[in-house]
């Protein structure tokens, strides 16, 4: 006799539920141990003071108040919040470059896959190896980048001297990159752009571009739209969900970024100019053993990311075209 859905025997349903719990059990155990309970523990830690040696002390909001008054964190050039936000300015630039490259590579020409692979190379090898490579490239005296810049500069200086205008010697004005607090952030941004513009973002844009119907372009051409109008009204509009996604992910990642470059390349210096929020958390927690203070900074970071995400969700409907 066929049973209706609602009258499945209780024992059978119980067995199915048991199977369900057993299937998620291993993951839930790990999730509890390494995600959800640590989140709670970290919240509690952020209200206490603990160096891991003496017993922890409950200090209420003292960590947050200290963070609020932390001049290293908030000072305007080269404060750690400023550094983080400054380096995030590269995110829209990187996304636009990725779109630009994707539009070019999306043409039906031979060899595009080879170019795509070559552009993808820096993002695949990203890590300590390429960071050390960039320290070498950015070496003020013998690095490749300053060598190229010096050649360009000297050529212009020569031209200028021909009309009687004497420029300073290159050695006197060359950027010291990672050893100069004004050049260190641009140096890291340059490295970031090199590593990211042909990476994941470009691949995602290529996928998005392949989803744009060709008829739209043909129709626009018939209506007399020029190349710029076709890009702006069709391509840009059709890939706007991807742009939005990349932008949101970029901002969320950007606030948490900069740790590895600071740890490997600069030690957060010179003069704190490359210490980002995440590197400051690392210093506090694992170098100075201020677990409570580090947790409060981590929660501050979480708050910023949360607010930005909610803000983005709220405004996405207005700006993005979902086909």
């Amino acid at each position: 006799m066929a049973k209706k859905n609602g009258s499945v025997p209780v024992t059978w349903r119980k067995r199915a539920a048991l199977a369900g719990y057993l299937f998620i059990l291993p993951n839930v155990v790990g999730f509890l141990a390494f995600t959800s309970l640590p989140v709670l523990a970290s919240l509690l830690l952020s209200f206490s003071k603990w160096d891991l040696l003496s017993p922890p002390r409950w200090v209420w909001f003292k960590n947050y108040i200290a963070l609020f008054h932390d001049t290293d964190f908030w000072r305007v050039p080269n404060g750690f919040f400023y550094n983080t936000v400054f380096m995030m300015m590269a995110i829209p630039v990187s996304i636009m470059l990725s779109l630009f490259l994707a539009v070019i590579l999306n043409q039906k020409l031979p060899g595009m896959i080879l170019y795509r692979t070559l552009f993808f190379l820096p993002s695949i090898t990203a890590g300590i190896g390429t960071m050390i490579l960039w320290m070498w490239l950015l070496n003020p005296q013998f690095g490749l980048i300053n060598l190229i810049l010096s050649n360009i500069y000297n050529a212009f200086a020569w031209l200028a001297s021909a009309v009687g205008w004497h420029w300073a010697n290159w050695d006197a004005i060359r950027p010291l990159w990672l050893s100069d607090e004004n050049w260190s952030k641009p140096a890291l941004i340059l490295m970031g752009l090199w590593g990211s513009m042909g990476g994941m973002n470009m691949i995602l844009y290529l996928a998005a571009l392949q989803g744009v119907p060709q008829e739209l372009y043909e129709a626009a051409k018939i209506d007399g739209a020029n190349a710029w109008q076709r890009f702006w009204k069709i391509t840009w509009a059709m890939v706007s969900p991807t742009t939005f996604f990349l932008f949101v992910m970029g901002i969320i990642g950007g606030f948490q970024g900069g740790f590895m470059a600071a740890q490997v390349m600069t030690g957060g210096g010179p003069n704190g100019s490359t210490t980002t929020i995440s590197y400051y958390i690392y210093e506090n927690a694992y170098l100075w053993f201020r677990m409570g203070y580090a947790s409060s900074i981590a929660w501050f970071l979480f708050g910023v990311v949360l607010i930005l995400t909610l803000f983005n969700w709220k405004f996405s409907q207005r700006l993005v075209y979902y086909g």
């Binding site: 539920a17 369900g20 995600t35 989140v39 320290m135 060598l147 981590a298």
Partner: protein, 325 residues
């Protein structure tokens, strides 16, 4: 103007723009690839040739110095720190993390996608909610937990047996003359592997994929008397091979290049993964560019090989999941 002329005209116009495109792309490709050439060149020359300038020796000698190629830097780097051990560590850790994540994620994803039990959607929502929590938040308590765990366990054993126990916190564990780290805590494979074996993201990714798998196969198998495990093992996993391969390759590469966690939990050279050992090497030879480039190349090569092997899945993974490496 007849048709033939028109065609020629169009073809010519295309060619100019195509040439500009190729020139631009090639210039960009050079700027992407030349640093890698520079790396290889620096790693393969004598240290005395590092600081030569093209104005003095000419561009050809600058690109390919007299001592090029010379593999001494690699042998010296290999002698200075235990690279072989670091590769074994990295492979072991990445393999275990990948296997663990694929296994636990696919089990849970199957549960969330196909089985019915009370509270299922609430638990899944909790998973989703935690995905936006910065890693820095959870890393501090996990660090404290894993570093204190061996001492807590030893205290418990001491209390139970009324003797002083150092089973878990002892740092001298050898296996056939090989130092294998502590069983738990800092400098242990446990700490390097286990916290990485669970992923809310992997669960989410596989659940989305499992939801899209046709239910017909599953129902047919059920009618033939297959149990839940058989449905998972013999139907769901084989049908989801692309998604699982994608998750596996991303997890493997993510684990291979993991930096912060291995950095804070390893102190002994024997337990270091490749990136951490390269960092250690860098702090020892901070201005020896030939050696540093040799060490950096040794970090990059396995990543390149993995990418070449798994490129297809990698690119597809980026597309379906929008995963950021």
């Amino acid at each position: 103007m007849d048709e033939q002329d028109k065609l020629v005209h169009v073809r010519k116009r295309i060619r100019v723009s195509t040439i500009v495109t190729y020139l631009f792309l090639s210039a960009l490709a050079v700027s992407m690839v030349f640093p890698f050439y520079w790396m290889v060149r620096t790693a393969l020359i004598d240290p005395k040739d590092v600081f030569i300038s093209p104005h003095r020796v000419g561009y050809l000698r600058w690109l390919l110095p007299e001592s090029f190629p010379k593999i001494d830097n690699f042998t010296q780097a290999l002698k200075a720190v235990p690279f072989g051990r670091a590769y074994i560590n990295s492979i072991l850790i990445s393999a275990c993390v990948t296997f663990g994540q694929v296994f636990t994620s696919s089990l849970a994803a199957f549960g969330f996608a196909r089985l019915k039990f009370p509270g299922r959607d609430k638990i899944f929502l909790a998973y989703l909610a935690t995905m936006m929590i910065p890693g820095a938040v959870t890393m501090i308590p996990v660090f404290i937990l894993t570093s204190k765990l061996p001492f807590w366990l030893d205290d418990a054993v001491s209390w139970l047996t009324h003797t002083r126990s150092v089973i878990f916190s002892s740092s001298y564990y050898m296996f056939h003359n090989t130092y294998v780290g502590r069983p738990l805590g800092l400098d242990s494979y446990f700490t390097l592997i286990v916290p990485g074996m669970f992923s809310a993201y992997g669960t989410f990714l596989l659940r989305q994929f499992f939801m899209s798998v046709e239910k017909d196969y599953e129902e047919a198998a059920r009618i033939d008397g297959a149990g839940t495990w058989a449905v998972y093992w013999k139907i769901m996993l084989p049908l989801s091979r692309p998604a699982i391969a994608t998750l596996a390759i991303f997890t493997f590469m993510g684990s291979w290049r993991a930096y912060m966690w291995p950095l804070i939990v390893t102190f002994r050279e024997d337990l270091m993964t490749v990136p951490i050992l390269v960092r250690f090497f860098q702090s020892k030879y901070s201005t020896d560019w030939t050696l540093l480039m040799a060490a950096s190349i040794m970090q990059i090569i396995p990543v390149l090989i993995a990418f070449i092997i798994g490129q297809k899945y990698f690119i597809r993974g980026v597309r379906i999941g929008g995963i950021k490496g």
